[in-house]
Amino acid sequence: MKPQQLWVAFWTILYREVRRFTRIWAQTLLPPVITITLYYIIFGNLIGSRIGEMGGFGYMEYIVPGLIMMSVITNSYSNVVSSFYSSKFQHNVEELLVSPVPNWIILWGYVFGGVARGLIVGVMVTLLSLFFTDLQVHHLGITVLVVILTAMLFALGGFLNAIFAQSFDDVSIVPTFVLTPLTYLGGVFYSINLLPEFWQNVSLLNPILYMVNTFRYGILGVSDINIGFALTAVVVFIGLLTSWALHLLKTGKGLRS
């Protein structure tokens, strides 16, 4: 395919993905907004006002970046895993498999579909936070970079999950038993400096901690971890997951008999 045709194919997949999650907005865009609003009200306002400061900021101010990042992570992941698995389940992934679209275009079409949903929800949640706190962006470049890279990484994770999934149960296992605990324990609601040294070290094994803290640094200018290391790690993991996903697409794992 010529570059222009590749672009059309990529845009087709991306547009189809965006059309899918906007068509079912009540299932995809509305729930995270409601959930995060409840977090803002209950944890930020009601409980947060009694907690006091965290990392030199009001509790509401402190948790906003983490909650935004939590929305981006869960939505970019769940968009790709549910969309790609549904395509497998309904067999309409065959439309792509019989066509001359290269595997890397298929992968990035789905991944950017997930990134699009993650970012749209992220922006909605950010706008919502303005009703509860004054949001100052300390470092715009890092904020935007880390949110896009994180959305890409978790969209890739969703794609891999969908490739291996053989039932709808398999689609929900990783988000429920891996993603949610790691997100809650990834410094969304607290600084790891509050933890005993052992649990601080255990927390450092949690990849989501690095993304949440890098994003928090971009907005508030405070972080529990090294920003350069965190960004490098995210880029390396994106490279690894991309290679893995492309290998699986080439061999037809879960797609071709």
Binding site: M1, K2, Q4, Q5, L6, V8, A9, W11, T12, I13, Y15, R16, R19, R23, S87, Q90, H91, N92, E94, E95, L96, L97, V98, S99, P100, V101, P102, G252, R256, S257
Partner: protein, 311 residues
């Protein structure tokens, strides 16, 4: 001239150990209309699945218009249009979106895709349904949608896996006419079907696959020439209570107005009608008892099975 499809020694062993294809080889010439026939589980869908890149082959080669599936899969895919057996579009998408999206996968821009979608939707009688979600279509409409989708990039080789399964007779015949029109315009077509009448009406060549092997591959005309006998049903007047004596023919009285006559190859029907006329029996209508190809197909498959059992 480059063959439209060339398959050599194609083998497929599934993960569970089932050997679906045991060295299938055949060619399809450009412009041909070919039927791939076989009983359920014979290997038809596996063969077409491999050509369509939906099934991984174990060994063998596949070339489409000179492009090798292993070394140049993208060119192969560009030449192919695939209509699978099962509905495999997104049931929640609108009809027109399904077609435009499919065109996009082939790098066709939205403007051209819309024009092509309108052309094929009108051609296949689906234009009025363009804004309907696919799940709301009837079974026949869904089949036509899959054909329209496969044609969006104007493939040189169209593969149809049981395209008229579950479609009523009237619609089936209109689909035949459309496929014939496509073939006349130069599109090479391969189809699998369980309606042998379909293969006999449409296809110039027929390959029969059984237990993962091609057991017959010839022209439809030559295949039908192998029939030694043909059975006709004659509606007769007046009604008969006992079998009429018709020398040279094997006859059976189905009921008092229906006579079954077995005619051997080269025997002709003139003598039969002369004898009936002598006995003052008139024939009001006549038809084949069974589809000719069906009889032959059953005999070939049974012969193949008998050879296997005796080996």
């Amino acid at each position: 001239m480059t063959t439209a499809l060339s398959i050599r020694d194609l083998r497929k062993v599934y993960d569970n150990g089932f050997e679906a294809l045991k060295g299938v080889s055949f060619d399809v010439q450009p412009g041909d209309f070919m039927a791939l026939l076989g009983p359920n589980g014979a290997g038809k869908s596996t063969t077409l699945g491999i050509v369509s890149s939906l099934v991984n082959k174990s060994s063998g080669t596949v070339t489409v218009f000179g492009h090798d599936l292993d070394s140049d899969p993208m060119k192969v895919k560009t030449c192919l249009g695939v209509v699978p057996q099962e509905f495999n579009f997104n049931m929640f998408e609108k009809v027109e979106h399904i077609l435009i999206t499919q065109a996009g996968y082939y790098g066709i821009g939205a403007k051209d895709a819309r024009q092509r979608a309108e052309f094929y939707l009108r051609k296949l009688g689906l234009w009025e349904k363009r804004d309907v979600t696919a799940r709301m279509l009837s079974g026949g409409m869904k089949r036509r949608l899959m054909i329209a989708r496969a044609l969006m990039h104007e493939p040189r080789l169209l593969i149809l896996d049981e395209p008229t399964a579950g479609v009523d007779i009237e619609l089936r015949r209109s689909m035949w006419a459309f496929l014939q029109e496509l073939n006349d315009a130069g599109t090479t077509i391969i189809l699998t079907t369980h309606y042998l009448e379909e293969a006999e009406s449409l296809c110039r060549n027929i390959a029969i696959i059984d237990h993962g092997n091609i057991v017959h591959n010839t022209s439809t005309r030559e295949l039908l020439a192998q029939l030694n006998t043909e059975t006709f049903l004659l509606d007769i007047q007046p009604g008969l209570s006992q079998l009429p004596a018709l020398s040279g023919y094997t006859v059976r009285l189905e009921n008092e107005h229906l006579l079954e006559v077995e005619v051997e190859k080269g025997q002709g029907l003139n003598d039969l009608f002369a004898q009936l006329q002598q006995q003052q029996i008139s024939v009001s209508s006549m038809r084949n008892k069974a589809n000719r190809l069906e009889e032959l197909f059953v005999s070939l498959v049974e012969k193949n099975l008998a050879e296997k059992e005796s080996a």
